[in-house]
């Protein structure tokens, strides 16, 4: 008996050591007290240029006396976990930015304020379709589109010229040929990489899979099931390997484009191409201003000559957490941001503005031009709240790429395993 009691005590002590999942949730409505207020705004790293946010915050503070905007820039890495914690706390931020693939999860769980009634106030007629779908859950809008963007091939014009490439490649074969030419022309530089392509750049993989006519998952009744084991998806994965092998990229095969940040590698000047977003080029130029005049972009080529591959339409939505204490202020902040003045600035910064159909400002630079050319062919990941779990946890697409690229698994095995894992995540 005593032994048992002692065991129970010991077990309790162990429980203490491992505990860490307790919860408590309580939500209070909006507090209407007057006096100085702080509006906490979380935008993401690389979203809006600081010139825009500085002007926006200043204008907002000037027109709302006693209000301070606490503007914080968040990193993409681990943001879902941070948002989960923040949104369930008693003092969430008042305005947040959400990736479009993450929005359904938060919208479907009632963590965001329903903005359906305010849409007309927020330039609702001009919302970008692809993003509007991502923030709509059961016919209600839980945010507003911020901006959209997609990957293009960012390249060095001077290196292309030196290698004798007159026009940017418009098919996969031309692309591979250009890589060979670049390698020959730069054989003297041991650090040269014709294309920087890390092993887990899975948004890039999406383009190749879609280009071959495949998809990552298909709808089966009201559920999604993985379709990575289709011949088309396999062909996409295979082309990814072809690119990695042909380019001789020194990028690690077991990390994505953020580890290390590919823009930093591109900034070293030894890389001729990277598949990235406009803000990544901005980062590279900031680190190495010489690159500004020597860079341009072309749409990701397709297997069919003359076409461009479908691209993942990445983007962000803006939302107000359901537990925000400053709902009215947050709404007027978003109203200001959704106005044409700031939307044009977003376009000029090289992204497709979310609440303005006027994209003339976008075509003012070569990257924006390539972006606009390919965004017409933009696609999104399966629109299910479960998709967020794929990105936040152990992404099967990443594991699949690493396993196949390093030779740990055959193409059939890698895609098969990833498909099983993906189906489990989307079903669970």
């Amino acid at each position: 008996m005593k032994g048992l009691r002692g065991l129970a005590v010991g077990a309790a002590a162990l429980a203490v050591a491992v505990a860490g999942c307790g919860t408590s949730a309580s939500n209070t409505g909006t507090a209407g007290s007057s006096g100085p207020k702080t509006l906490t705004v979380w935008l993401m790293d690389g979203s809006a240029p600081t010139t825009l946010t500085d002007a926006l915050n200043k204008e907002f503070q000037d027109s709302n006396k006693d209000v301070t905007v606490k503007y914080e820039v968040q990193k993409w890495g681990g943001i879902q976990e941070k948002l989960t914690t923040a949104l369930t706390s008693d003092t969430p931020p008042d305005v947040i930015e959400l990736g479009n693939t993450q929005t359904p999860k938060f919208a479907s769980e009632g963590t965001l304020l329903d903005l359906t009634g305010d849409a007309s106030n927020l330039n609702g007629g001009e919302w970008l379709g692809g993003l509007k779908d991502s923030l709509t859950w059961e016919d209600k809008q839980y945010g507003l589109p911020f901006y959209a963007s997609n990957r293009t091939v960012i390249y060095r014009t001077d290196l292309f010229e030196a290698a004798g490439i007159t026009a940017p490649p418009t098919s996969n074969d031309e692309w591979l040929a250009a890589i060979e030419k670049l390698k020959t022309a730069n054989a003297a530089n041991p650090d040269f990489q014709a294309l920087y392509l890390p092993g887990q750049s899975w948004y890039t993989l999406l383009s190749f899979i879609w280009d071959q006519g495949g998809d990552v998952a298909k709808k089966d009744g009201d559920k999604f099931v993985g379709s990575l084991d289709s011949a088309q998806a396999k062909a996409g994965v295979d082309f990814y390997k072809k690119l990695v092998d042909a380019s001789g990229t020194k990028a690690p095969k077991d990390t994505d484009e953020a580890k290390p940040q590919q823009m930093e590698v591109f900034g070293t000047g030894n890389v001729a191409m990277m598949i990235g977003l406009p803000w990544e080029l901005g980062g590279a130029v900031k680190a190495n201003p010489d690159l500004e005049k020597k860079t341009s972009a072309f749409p990701i080529p397709s297997k069919t000559a003359g076409k461009s591959a479908p691209v993942f339409l990445g983007g962000s939505n803006l939302a107000i957490p359901a537990g925000s204490k400053n709902v009215d202020l947050a709404k007027s902040y978003l109203k200001l941001l959704s106005g044409k003045k700031y939307q044009d600035q977003l376009g000029a910064a090289g992204t497709v503005p979310g609440t303005s159909k006027d994209t003339a400002s976008l075509a003012s630079n070569p990257v924006g031009k390539a972006l606009a050319a390919s965004s017409a062919n933009g696609k999104v990941t399966p629109a299910t709240p479960k998709w967020a779990a794929v990105e936040a946890g152990q992404n099967p697409l990443k594991d699949m790429l690493t396993a196949y690229l390093t030779g740990a698994k055959s193409l059939d095995q890698a895609t098969g395993d990833a498909n099983t894992a993906l189906t489990a995540l989307l079903g669970g």
Binding site: G6, A19, G22, S24, A25, T84, D254, A322, A392, Q394
Partner: protein, 329 residues
């Protein structure tokens, strides 16, 4: 441990307070006094007990309760309580991956604990033999290693083992081995080996210092006697050091077991439990279920199962711990 201390503290209160009362003799008053006396120690204990229960007991109960609930992001935000009985446990236990992960966690913990305790013990014994300046140098080095934040040392290890720029591969290539571009994280076992090395490295200072304290506590005349009897170094260790050190050694082994079983930070920072889930341990599973997928109920069930597994692993030690305490009391 805390419970034992509080009981000890209560004893003097009980024995000292009745003394003056008894001097003032009187039937009714005496009975009232004795009720008060009987309650007094509990009243004095109450604030501490309530504090402990609130701070420690509540989270434990909360985890157990949560494990019987369906608690996803929506339920959490709405404050909704949905009871699902044993569904969470059924879900976890029916997943073949769970057993694979459990086995991996147990083996990983055992190897890491054994290695770190043995190396810690060897260093502790070594320190007794070293001259003072060398020993102090060693101690300072270990202290610095110990003081290094976990994330910082994890980052350093990541760079040491980096495929392209890692100093380890560079050195191996210089020494003539074909390790250019070798990936140390190609399989789960390889990844866990590197992480295990890091954890052992982080654990050694504590173990070495604790065991060294035990080693210098062994009376010197015992060694003298052993020397006179002509005992070899090994015999001296078996007959003198080992018996003196054994309780302490068991204690630190037990603590290491607790710490290493629930290691999360290093594993997650290294490869997020990859490649292909190959270095996923129970704490990582808990994180994936709870934070990544927002199934907090399932994560709580994993926590409870972890406690059960840990209890089973440490059952013999817990029993011994109990016996010694009963002997003392």
């Amino acid at each position: 441990m805390t419970a034992v201390e509080t009981t000890d503290a209560a004893v003097p209160v009980r024995t000292s307070s009745p003394a003056p009362r008894r001097a003032v003799a009187g039937g009714a008053r005496r009975r009232r006094g004795s009720t008060f006396d009987r309650l007094l120690p509990y009243l004095l204990l109450a604030p501490a007990v309530i504090g402990i229960l609130w701070l420690i007991g509540f989270p434990v109960v909360s985890v157990v309760v949560t494990s019987f609930r369906k608690l996803d992001l929506g339920e959490l935000v709405r404050g909704q309580v949905v009871w699902v009985g044993l569904d969470n446990y059924a879900k976890v236990l029916s997943d073949p991956r769970f057993w694979e992960i459990t086995l991996r966690t147990v083996v990983f913990t055992a190897v890491v604990v054994a290695t770190s305790v043995v190396v810690g013990l060897v260093i502790a014994l070594l320190m007794r033999q070293l001259s003072t300046p060398v020993r102090i140098l060693l101690q300072v080095c270990m202290l610095l290693a110990w003081a290094m934040p976990i994330i910082a040392s994890t980052t350093v290890y990541q760079w040491i083992f980096d495929q392209q720029y890692g100093i380890l591969n560079k050195i191996l290539v210089k020494l003539g081995f074909d390790y250019a571009g070798h990936s140390w994280f190609s399989t789960g076992t390889a990844t866990l080996s590197v992480i295990g090395l890091l954890i052992v490295w982080q654990a050694i200072p504590f173990l070495a210092f604790s065991l060294y304290a035990g080693v210098i506590g062994v009376p010197a005349d015992l060694y003298e006697a052993a020397g006179i009897d002509g005992a070899t170094a090994w015999q001296t260790f078996r007959a003198v050091t080992w018996p003196e050190l054994k309780p302490l050694l068991m204690m630190v082994t037990f603590l290491s077991l607790l710490w290493d079983f629930k290691v999360f930070t290093q594993i997650w920072v290294f490869k997020e439990g990859g490649p292909s889930g190959g270095s996923t341990t129970l704490p990582v599973l808990q994180y994936l279920e709870g934070i990544s997928q927002s199934h907090f109920g399932v994560a709580a069930a994993v926590s409870v199962l972890m406690v059960v597994i840990l209890t089973l692993l440490t059952v013999s030690y817990l029993r011994k711990l109990l016996q010694t305490q009963e002997g003392k009391l």
